[in-house]
């Protein structure tokens, strides 16, 4: 079926010429045959420029390169062009400009082969997980949309297995898009283990892996900027998270990367307003999972007020309330995570406490997280980067400076959701230390109470 040797590499992608990595003669041949089509890199839409890869329109995202130079070469494109415009927003993936177009495959489309027995996973789903799994199978069959609203620790990954199984049997191409590279690194090996006969490509900034019509692509959302009409099933993990929620170009990238008829599945513990409204208006089919897989309630965050907390943080000192909390953990031999608002805070606190810290720019972050998971460290200080997606079996959590603006409702709910993840140790302590009580903190507590109530009701009904 895949008669064309280039088809598996380029089907469903939108790439720069140097990403195609073809010799000039092959490249020209494919263009002439119409197997590759050229798409202008930057398009003028009314008064704006729009990058055709990342779809940004912000004027500040575009730069100019003057073409009038003393180093004029014989085959300069055309002397009338004064300057070329390029996109600075996605330049890390290679430059897109008015002179550097993108290419899409237009030849015979490659499809992953159907797999009869894709999974070796023999685990069992809880009733609630099963409900979500069936809804997902339904969505894949009908090529429709679905929101799975499941609390942290509900076992989201396992819920996907039944749907994935159906998809791979039908030879569908599936993508799991998640906001963070850490999550890709955690998820991909797990899926490889449980689905050994399928091809998986894990893509994030800096990987060497390539997707040659893989059955399953596990990728950070940014990687989807290289795709176009590629996937039959798109699973967007943590839709409410930064940067997906924040960056308008990423939803556009998701919309572009799926085929015309596709199933779209959103996963989150904390849907934002737009999804909540769509769900209430029955525009978006929704499955709610209020209970963790082990059936125990979510740990309720404790609120603890500390005066002049932010002054303390700035000086790198700690108020007694917090040192007491830490000492209690230490004497009980409990491992813990400390969340702080900024990188500077993390650095200062790490100096006073002698505990390692991670943040978005730390070079050894993978290693630190790995070592903490393997119990090499008793504690870890972190910024919001570890708020979601990562699972440490049995830990306590404190947020120091929970009234800072980076800790919105969703962030606090997610952070609280790091505690009590394992069935052997379902209770974890979650404490928010703050100076001024914020709406986000109150809402996060209310959310937990509400979900626990829903969970209790469900348990009663099912008994």
């Amino acid at each position: 079926m895949n008669a064309n040797p280039w088809s598996p590499r380029f089907s469903g992608k939108r790439l720069l010429k140097n990403e195609l990595n073809l010799s000039e003669s092959v490249f020209k041949g494919l263009l002439e045959k119409g197997y590759l089509i050229e798409i202008p890199g930057i398009q003028k839409v009314l008064f704006y420029h729009e990058c055709q890869r990342c779809h940004t329109r912000k004027p500040s995202h575009f730069g100019k390169i003057p073409m009038k130079t003393i180093q004029s070469f014989s085959h300069q494109n055309s002397p009338t062009i004064k300057s070329i415009t390029y996109c600075r927003n996605c330049i890390q993936m290679g430059r897109v400009s008015t002179n550097e177009p993108l290419y899409e495959w237009n030849g015979p489309v490659a499809k992953p082969r159907k797999i009869k027995q894709p999974s070796v996973w023999r685990g069992e789903l809880t009733k609630l997980q099963s409900k979500a799994a069936d809804a997902m199978v339904e969505a894949i069959r009908n090529q429709s949309k679905l929101l799975i609203h499941a609390v942290c620790g509900a076992g989201k990954t396992e819920m996907l297995y039944r749907g994935l199984w159906i998809a791979f049997r039908n030879g569908f191409r599936v993508c799991i898009a998640t906001p963070r590279a850490d999550v890709v690194r955690e998820l991909a090996p797990r899926l490889r283990r449980d689905f050994p006969s399928i091809e998986v490509a894990a893509l994030y900034g800096g990987t060497q892996e390539v997707d040659v019509t893989a059955h399953l692509v596990v990728a950070t959302t940014h990687q989807l900027l290289r795709y176009s009409k590629s996937f039959d099933v798109m699973i967007v993990d943590e839709v409410d998270a930064f940067p997906y929620h924040h960056d308008k170009s990423l939803p556009k990238a998701v919309a572009r990367s799926v085929k015309d008829s596709h199933a779209l599945i959103y996963l989150t513990a904390t849907p934002r307003l737009d999804l909540k409204i769509a769900s209430r208006l029955k525009q978006l089919q929704t499955i709610s999972i209020p209970l963790r897989y082990h059936g125990h309630p979510l740990p309720l965050p404790k609120l603890s007020q500390v005066f002049k907390l932010h002054q303390h943080l700035q000086q790198g000192t700690l108020p007694t309330k917090i040192t007491r909390w830490i000492d209690e953990r230490k004497s009980a031999k409990r491992r813990f995570l400390l969340f702080v608002p900024t990188i500077e805070n993390a650095h200062a606190l790490s100096e006073t406490l002698g505990i390692p810290y991670v943040h978005s720019e730390s070079s050894n972050r993978e290693e630190l997280i790995h070592q903490f998971r393997n119990q090499h460290y008793e504690a870890l200080i972190t910024t919001t980067i570890l708020e979601r997606g990562v699972t440490f079996p049995s830990i306590d959590v404190a947020v120091i400076g929970a009234d800072h603006e980076v800790f919105d409702e969703a962030a606090l709910i997610q952070i609280a959701g790091r505690a009590g993840r394992s069935a052997d140790d379902p209770d974890g302590d979650v404490t928010f230390f703050y100076n001024v009580k914020t709406k986000a903190m109150v809402k996060a507590r209310q959310y937990t109470e509400l979900k626990n109530l829903e969970g209790k009701k469900f348990k009663k009904e099912s008994n």
Binding site: S60, H61, G63, K64, I65, P66, T69, I70, Q71, F73, I84, Y86, R88, N89, I91, Q92, G94, R95, S97, N99, E100
Partner: protein
Amino acid sequence: MHCKICMHSIEKDTTWSTLFDFRERTLCPSCNEQLETIQEPTCEKCMKQTEEKLCSDCKFWEQYWGKDPLDRNVSVYTYNEYMKETMARFKYRGDYEIVHAWKDSFQQTFKEHFPKESHLLPVPLAESRFHERGFNQAEALANLVDQPLFAGMIRIGQEKQSKKSKWERLLASNPFELTETPPENIVIIDDLFTTGSTVRFAAQLMKKAGAKRVSSLTLVRS
């Protein structure tokens, strides 16, 4: 206004003192802080940060090639981690706009060290590299300073400097060729001064062709 390097907004609060300030800002405070200007003590010839009067690179050249054709080098910034990253984006990703972030300090440095009647020679780029990148980074820097350019030199070699070792660079043959007679006062412009061999090869040719003073202004001394 947005920072040319990190692209974050640098809008200031409007007060009476900022209301009539029309200067264009191209750097945010955080990026500005990370740009590290070269501090004394330095090699008096090439501004390498060292305790010695003459650094090993300069000594080596004199030992190996004889009289140094370059009168002196002036650089603006050190090659710290931040600069390495920024440089990589500027040169290898081809993010031209970044050049504007260095405008003020580059202009300032030129004024401080060089006479007004100097001609600038941006170090030419091999044709293949120019086509890959779409611009010559040295010329982009030269355009920041309002001075006449001298365009009578071409590059024949194709090899990347950054892929070579220090020894290979110092012992390589001259990759440049002159196509016009150079003016008397020349300031060679380049982005990076590492061992100084590129700049010195260019200087050598020009001195031979009759230039009187040949110095260089480079953005970074590594």
